[in-house]
């Protein structure tokens, strides 16, 4: 793929989770070096010498999705951090003027004092400061400004002001790259739109050549596999009793219900309230009905999954330690045999379960976490996007295992950002902004319908 940025245009990048938008942005800003390919600025090849340090000198500015201000500094001091040319006696006044003037220009009536500590500002105000900082010009000019989901934490008024500013910035000859999930603002603001999927660009054209429908279509994959599981799934839903009933935090949301022996998918863009709902089920928060014990398969292995200093056997058996109690003590031999048997059942590739968990590859570590949940007596398993960064072979094995366990009467709640995994579910709920916005039976589920529900109709 080739992507050209012209002066005086706004290019938008859209695509589903993991399409490669943020990666592309990191390459452009010098934070990641490209494995192959070239980066040229004004005809000069700068591949390999683009670093965050000189990206600014090349006029590339970024507003990252996760906020990157220093919370312990004031607004003006943060301006100084990204504009090294502000220094010497009286620098504080210069920094105050720079960021204050830009804030006035982009967000008139913002009400942010330049001497306020960033940690005292609301998220929306921090986002405004960050945007103003990226557009501010000192000795280094702002030739390309990349905005990653800039409006996600802004209210509609501030978002409108920002998009107006983007237009006027582009009119004055600047280049803007806008990454957004809000298709309305993408269509209104950009000159060209690139649709990304699986790390490549699948459609690139003038914005006027797209509309909402064609964008959503382009984001999905072409082939829609039809499965014969639909009828079977419907049967489960009609006959089996409900074991989990939960409502997400947001008002005006439908209710999620899972029946015994069902695999329920939680879909939507990432971070739309799916994990929060799983935690509510796990904690049996007020307002949720949970019939049976719950086990969790963590998504972020390193943070809330594995115990890195423990052996594989200990990592597997921790979920069901109570069954190995012998008086006051643990029957270690029994726990080890138990882990051994699960290694064989689930196919963890290791000669010895006493090895450290870190000796396993990522996929096999994830299998150990599955073994921990499946080996526990829990009848309800909640899974928080567990297949992130797992190879396709392991995925197939785990899908098969989930189907088998479901057939035996276990219930699965499965948050996933991958469309293919939804095809393994009997019923899918689509989340958006903390609420369930679509309730799809297996027979009704299609990639297009999930995508359509994931993006707001009015934006």
């Amino acid at each position: 793929m080739t992507l050209e940025l012209h002066p005086g245009e706004c290019l938008s990048l859209v695509g589903h989770n993991g399409a490669g938008k943020s990666t592309l942005m990191n390459v452009l800003s010098g934070n990641l070096a490209p494995d192959k390919g070239r980066i040229e600025v004004a005809g000069v090849d700068i591949t390999g010498c683009l670093t965050p340090q000189n990206a600014t000198a090349h006029g590339v500015r970024c507003v990252f999705q996760e906020l990157s201000l220093c919370p312990n500094l004031t607004v003006a001091e943060n301006a100084r951090i990204s504009h090294p040319s502000i220094s010497g006696i009286g620098w504080r006044g210069d920094a105050r003027r720079l960021i204050g003037d830009k804030l006035d220009e982009v967000f008139p009536g913002h009400g942010i004092p330049a001497d306020d500590m960033v940690s005292d500002l609301s998220i929306a105000r921090r986002q405004m400061v960050e945007i103003a900082r990226a557009f501010a010009v000192t000795t280094a000019e702002a030739r390309v400004v990349i905005l990653d989901e800039p409006t996600s934490s802004l209210d509609t008024v501030a978002a409108k002001k920002l998009l107006d500013h983007v237009r006027s910035y582009v009119r004055s000859g600047g280049t803007c790259v806008l990454i957004s999930h809000l298709l309305g603002e993408v269509l209104d603001t950009s000159d060209r739109i690139a649709v990304m999927r699986d790390g490549g660009i699948v459609a690139l054209d003038r914005a006027s050549a797209f509309d909402r429908n064609s964008l959503v279509k382009a984001m999905g994959s072409v082939v829609e596999a039809v499965t014969d599981r639909a009828a079977e799934a419907a049967a489960v839903r009609d006959t089996a009793p409900v074991v989990v009933q939960a409502t997400p935090g947001a008002s005006r949301s439908s209710v999620l219900a899972a029946h015994r022996g069902e695999v329920v998918g939680l879909a939507g863009l990432s971070g739309q309230g799916q994990t929060e709902l799983l935690v509510r089920v796990f904690d049996r928060a007020p307002g949720t009905t949970v019939d049976g014990e719950v086990a969790l398969v963590a998504g972020d292995r390193q943070i809330d999954g594995i115990f890195p200093l423990w052996s594989i056997a200990e990592n597997i058996s921790i979920g069901s330690l109570r069954t190995f109690l012998k008086g006051m003590f643990l029957d270690r031999a029994a726990a080890r045999d138990f882990a051994d048997s699960w290694r064989d059942r689930i196919g963890i590739r290791t000669p010895n379960v006493d090895n450290s968990i870190l000796s396993l590859s990522g996929g096999n570590q994830q299998k150990a976490l599955f073994a921990r949940a499946l080996a526990s007596p829990a009848q309800i398993i909640v899974m928080d996007d567990p297949m992130r960064g797992v190879d396709i072979g392991t995925k197939q094995e785990v899908y098969e295992m989930i189907r088998e366990e479901a057939a035996k009467g276990r219930t699965f709640l499965w948050y996933t950002t991958e469309m293919d995994e939804l095809r393994n579910c009997d019923h899918v709920y689509v989340f958006r902004e903390g609420a369930i916005v679509a309730d799809l039976r297996r027979s009704d589920m299609s990639e297009e319908r999930v995508l359509r529900a994931s993006f707001r109709a009015d934006a």
């Binding site: 670093t51 990157s68 220093c70 951090i81 090294p84 620098w91 005292d120």
Partner: protein
């Protein structure tokens, strides 16, 4: 938020208020301390502790912790009382070398991603060992100019007070007001963001550790100027005193939230707490526990203020 008694203001006022309360208590218990001579005696030892606390503050500012500052100040004291006195050139070279080692420690901790607690705990034994090698038995002599400086008797205001104010202001202007200091503090708040803006975290860490080494050296010199001789164990308790001083002064362990003026006030408060307990005629066995109790009370007050802040 701009109310006169906003929690933020209260929080900033807590360190000076604790110091004032302690001073008043001491004056009531022992009115004779309310004189030039009394204050001089009372605050004398605060100068080296203040300098060590400032050193610790530079380290805490970049989210690290220095458990070796006590041993380091002891070693500096031993070098000052021997080499700097007998062979000044060798002494100066040794002290400069120590600062360079501190900067190298910063680089090591950053590059190898080591926990600073482990590295500095290890170094504390190295410093102590070197101190014993330099000065096996207590003794040595303070260089004359150091002695003269530390026993200055300026008119009206006792020297320790002037010294504390100067230290606080100089570090405050450098770290809190200058464009350079802003970048240094930013590294404690959000290192990723600084790297993205093109600053080198390695250089920042090395600078901060070198500054800590520099202030550690100043602390050792000041200490020998007061005691006139040195001992390998002379400043071991500074490690915990310096950490407590920074925290007492409103600093935090992570996030680059520090205050030089607060740190100086914290160090002085801790020094006075010792005298206060002596004036109470408390059994020395109980003094360390009582010092801890004072610390807990002040920190508990701070938590209460922070809670009020959150509620707003």
């Amino acid at each position: 938020m701009s109310g006169f008694f906003s929690p933020r203001l209260l929080r900033n006022l807590l360190p000076p208020l604790s110091l004032a309360a302690l001073l008043v208590a001491i004056f009531v218990l022992q009115p004779r301390t309310m004189s030039y001579f009394g204050l001089n005696l009372l605050l004398n030892l605060a100068i080296p502790i203040t300098l060590a606390t400032i050193a610790q503050m530079f380290i805490l500012c970049v989210n690290e912790l220095d458990l070796s500052i006590g041993g380091f100040v002891s070693l500096v004291a031993c070098i000052v009382a021997t080499w700097l006195h007998d062979t000044p050139l060798l002494g100066i070279a040794a002290l400069a070398g120590l600062i360079a080692v501190y900067a190298a420690l910063g680089a090591l901790i950053h590059l190898r991603n080591l926990p600073s607690i482990v590295v500095t705990l290890g170094m504390s034994f190295v410093w102590l060992g070197l101190a014993v090698l330099v000065l096996p038995t207590p003794g040595g002599t303070a260089p004359e100019y150091v002695r003269t400086l530390m026993t200055l008797k300026p008119a009206y205001v006792p020297f320790p007070i002037i010294a504390s104010v100067v230290i606080a202001l100089v570090v405050h202007i450098f770290l809190m007001r200058s464009a350079w200091g802003t970048v240094l503090r930013g590294a404690g708040g959000n290192p990723r963001s600084l790297e993205r803006a093109g600053w080198s975290i390695l250089k920042i860490k090395m600078t901060m550790f070198a500054l800590a080494g520099f202030f550690g050296v100043l602390s050792g010199i000041a200490l020998v100027g007061l005691t006139t001789s040195a001992d390998a164990n002379i400043a071991l308790r500074y490690t915990l005193l310096s950490i407590a001083g920074v925290i007492l002064g409103g600093g935090e362990f992570v996030g680059g939230r520090i205050s030089p003026i607060g740190a100086v006030i914290g160090a002085v408060t801790l020094t006075l707490a010792g005298s206060f307990l002596s004036f109470l005629r408390l059994n020395p066995d109980w003094q360390i526990g009582a010092q801890g109790a004072i610390l807990i009370i002040v920190l508990a007050l701070r938590v209460l203020v922070s809670r009020a802040e959150k509620r707003q």
